[in-house]
């Protein structure tokens, strides 16, 4: 739970919370359960409820479920245009010219969620410049750290 709260803080998701009594850890993977579902979880389960992310090699990797929840909780994010949204899903970084809007303040080095123009969370990255500062159009503004294209890459 602490790992999840720390990640929420990293993206400045100020209104994000859930009761930790329903967060389960199994082999470094974290799941959020509602009360009725928790009755069906027994020893040795493989997956349960909403997958929140995993802790591996000293680092927390948030799931796309968690990122979407954070996006709805006012997390720091950038909305990008259609072309950049697709390129981001293909592991590419975000150019400054592709950012349509910035939600919250983002300084160089901050973790930011990346949303498409329908408000759907596509992943997250690290700001490589301070949003609002003067930048060249083709300067990389957000370095891709994780995107939903991962669902395809995992199954290769």
């Amino acid at each position: 739970m602490k790992l999840i709260a720390e990640f929420a803080k990293r993206v400045n998701a100020s209104t994000f919370s859930f009761s930790d009594e329903f967060v389960l850890e199994e082999g470094g993977r974290y799941f959020l359960l509602n009360s009725p579902l928790s009755r069906y979880v027994q020893k040795g389960f493989f997956y349960a409820g909403i997958y929140l992310g995993k802790f591996k090699d000293g680092q927390f990797f948030p799931s796309f479920n968690l990122l979407s929840m954070l996006a709805k909780s006012g997390a720091r994010s950038v909305t990008v245009d259609k072309k950049a949204a697709w390129l981001f899903v293909c592991s590419r970084d975000i150019f400054a010219k592709s950012i349509v809007t910035v939600h919250g303040s983002a300084k160089k080095g901050d973790t930011v969620l990346v949303l498409n123009q329908l408000g759907e969370c596509l992943g997250f990255g690290r700001a490589t410049l301070s949003m609002g500062s003067r930048a060249e159009p083709n300067q990389i503004a957000v370095k891709n750290l994780s995107d939903i294209g991962d669902f395809l890459r995992r199954e290769r």
């Binding site: 069906y40 027994q42 389960f45 493989f46 498409n116 939903i148 395809l152």
Partner: protein
């Protein structure tokens, strides 16, 4: 006893004139992820043209595409699943599943599990089992991608389902089967009658186990993508005679089950099953069973 001629001859005896057929790609919209009916339009802009499948509420044929339907942002966001059209039928046959506790006995790779969760609005609980390590990882990915929240997955042989000590309102048994030639171009070369008999025995063993976990009056939907009566009508005939089950009427695409198989008469109620010969969909078989009250 194998080969194309052997099996074509069997199908002929079952009343079907063999025809070569391919498989049309189909998708199913995840309604919990797409509230408005705007996905077909959105997909068109993404390069995938859809056509409504008349016999499915949320199913669409992929009519044309400039990109892979399995690699769009909409797919990765879980707005739809790629799911063969006939395979979309079984999950829709339960009477009422919202808020219920359901066993998906052989769940991976999870197309029907996600569909059940969608039909349940992520309410109630699904217990999904599969024995394969690789396939269960694909199942978990599928659940995560489609934002399913009411499912618990166990890596477990369905023949040990009762060890969970749970009772289910409904059970989906999409049984491991021999498949069919429409979805496997090498099918006639690989399959023998012995394989089919072995799979039929496995299906009976799973069915006999899961039936001990279903509540009185609970429903079991049994399905396979096999065309072979040993895995379908003959197993259902065995089930109603040995497992205190009865076959229910089902309203869905397909012909009635075959009640006279290679000279053997099956129970008349087997006709209530549905059999789909390959054509616009792959071959498929589905049967809805109800557990009679225990004495």
């Amino acid at each position: 006893m194998s080969g194309k001629v052997f099996f074509k001859n069997r199908y002929s005896k079952l009343g079907w004139a063999f025809e070569e057929t391919g498989q049309r790609q189909a998708i199913r919209i995840n309604r919990t992820r797409v509230k408005d009916n705007d996905l077909p339009e959105r997909m068109k802009k993404a390069g995938v043209t859809l056509e409504k499948i008349p016999f499915l509420e949320n199913g669409y044929w992929v009519k044309g595409s400039t990109v892979s339907a399995g690699a769009t942002a909409e797919y990765l966001l879980g707005l739809y699943s790629i799911q063969e059209a006939a395979a979309q039928i079984p999950a829709t046959l339960f009477s009422d599943i919202k808020g219920k506790v359901i066993l998906d006995a052989c769940a991976a790779p999870g197309g029907k599990t996600v569909q059940l969760a969608d039909l349940m609005d992520n309410d109630g609980a699904i217990i999904a089992l599969d024995i394969s390590k690789e396939r269960i990882a694909a199942l978990a990915n599928h659940l995560e991608r489609c934002r399913v929240s009411n499912t618990v997955v166990y890596r477990r042989d369905a023949r040990t389902a009762s060890d969970l000590h749970l009772q289910f309102d409904c059970i989906l048994l999409d049984a491991p089967c021999s498949g069919n030639f429409a979805s496997d171009s090498d099918w006639f070369r690989r399959r023998t009658l012995k394989d089919i008999e072995r799979n039929a025995a496995l299906q009976r063993a799973i069915l006999a186990e899961v039936v001990t976990c279903v509540a009185d009056d609970g429903e079991i939907v049994y399905s396979t993508c096999s065309l072979e009566p040993e895995e379908n009508e003959m197993n259902m005939d065995w089930a109603i005679k040995h497992l205190n089950l009865e076959i229910e009427d089902t309203e869905c695409k397909g012909e009635g089950g075959i009640t006279k198989v290679f000279g053997r008469d099956l129970d008349a109620s087997v006709e209530k099953c549905k059999r789909i010969w390959p054509g616009e969909t792959q071959g498929f078989f589905v049967c809805k069973l109800r557990r009679r009250r225990r004495q």
